[in-house]
């Protein structure tokens, strides 16, 4: 008697975007609380934890990603306006930006070439297929840019989106520790480095350290999106893969 009702409810919920959207927010809320409990340890990265929880939940309930994404796309969509919004912290750092435009430009161009070159090179050395190399190449650019580039150079866009997120998590988890080891205390330097390597997830992490690091990371993320789009296809042509 009870069972059909529950199945009916499940059929309704899995067809509606409400569930995917709600569980995304719930999982992130929970992961964020855990992150605060862990004294903001980068290892308790909220993206990492909530992605793991959601994948587990979807697998246990046998829900397909496409069904989940029906709801989750509302969150995914906000990446667009959030990218536009980066103009504001950037504008607030105008004075520093003016003083540093030349080092920033040089670091950005080098960083973009190193990000793409090292991922193609390492994947090739380790015997990765061309498809994998091309899917990895734009991994440090923000998701929508990376997917577009991946497609033009012969990668798999949806795989690239995943690699982009893992890259961001890697950068966010290791970044601050790495800068400590390098004895770098200048937040503009740290921001540029984490923004070039780990785009928006690195930027989110950077904003937790300071507004200045976040603004420079946002700047690096936005400009390296430009630079990646211009440089990477050309770099791939050049290496003749």
């Amino acid at each position: 008697m009870n069972e059909p009702v529950i199945t009916d409810i499940w059929v309704y919920l899995s067809a509606s975007p409400l569930l995917g959207l709600t569980i995304t927010l719930l999982a992130y809320g929970l992961a964020y609380r855990l992150y605060l409990q862990a004294n903001s340890s980068p290892f308790a990265n909220p993206v990492l934890v909530s992605v793991a929880m959601l994948i587990l939940l979807l697998m246990v309930t046998g829900t397909r990603y496409s069904e989940y994404f029906e709801g989750a796309r509302f969150v995914h969509f906000l990446l667009g306006p959030a990218t536009v919004a980066l103009a504001v912290p950037l504008y607030e750092q105008l004075a520093r930006l003016k003083a540093l435009w030349l080092p920033v430009t040089i670091s950005l161009i080098c960083g973009v070439v190193i990000a793409a070159g090292s991922s193609i090179g390492l994947a090739w050395l380790l015997g990765g297929s061309t498809e994998i190399q091309m899917s990895l190449a734009p991994k440090s650019a923000t998701a929508p840019v990376a997917m577009g580039i991946s497609e033009t150079i012969g990668g798999i866009p949806s795989l690239t989106a995943v690699l982009v997120v893992i890259t961001g998590i890697t950068g966010a988890v290791t970044g601050t520790r790495l800068f400590e080891l390098m004895r770098i205390s200048d937040d503009s330097v740290k921001g540029i480095a984490i923004g070039v390597a780990a785009h928006g997830i690195g930027t989110a992490r950077a904003f937790q350290v300071s507004n200045q690091m976040g603004a420079f990371s946002g700047l690096a993320m936005a400009l390296s999106a430009f630079a990646t789009a211009l440089i990477v296809p050309w770099l791939v042509d050049l290496t003749g893969i």
Binding site: V47, Y65, P103, I106, A123
Partner: protein, 137 residues
């Protein structure tokens, strides 16, 4: 109301960006162009209106949430990742570290070469949370 106006403006800039990218066949995504245009607008106006700052900080304060749906997409690619897990994980991990170390190193060096004086002056004036020691020497 301020928040609503702000979010409307952000969406409008994104929309203009998307349309411009398609019309001019630019190799960059619409939101990035939208960001550049908003930045230029703020430069011209000379200040960031309250509505825009409110919407911007609301969106950016939980920026990492927005990456969760794409991250969950990993489950679709488990097979491919499993079949080439070694090159994928190692290349991704080390390339990310190399990029951060190299970029930080280059930025550190070039900012010393090109802008040490003005940066230090600027940093000590409004250095709220950065500048822990090393820049004051």
């Amino acid at each position: 109301m301020a928040f609503l106006n702000g979010i409307t403006l952000l969406l409008a800039y994104q929309l203009i960006g998307e349309v411009a990218v398609r019309l001019m066949d630019l190799p960059i995504p619409g939101p990035v162009l939208g960001m550049m245009m908003l930045f230029i607008t703020l430069l011209i106006r000379g200040y960031a209106p309250e509505s825009i700052s409110a919407a911007s900080s609301a969106l950016l304060s939980h920026l990492s949430l927005l990456f969760v749906p794409a991250g969950v997409g990993m489950m679709v690619h488990f097979d491919r990742i499993a079949s080439e897990w070694l090159p994928i994980t190692l290349a991704l991990f080390f390339s990310t570290l190399i990029t951060m170390v190299a970029t930080a190193g280059i930025m550190q060096l070039t900012s010393r070469w090109f802008a040490p004086k003005s940066l230090q002056a600027d940093g000590s004036r409004d250095g709220e949370d950065s500048d822990r020691g090393s820049r004051h020497e």
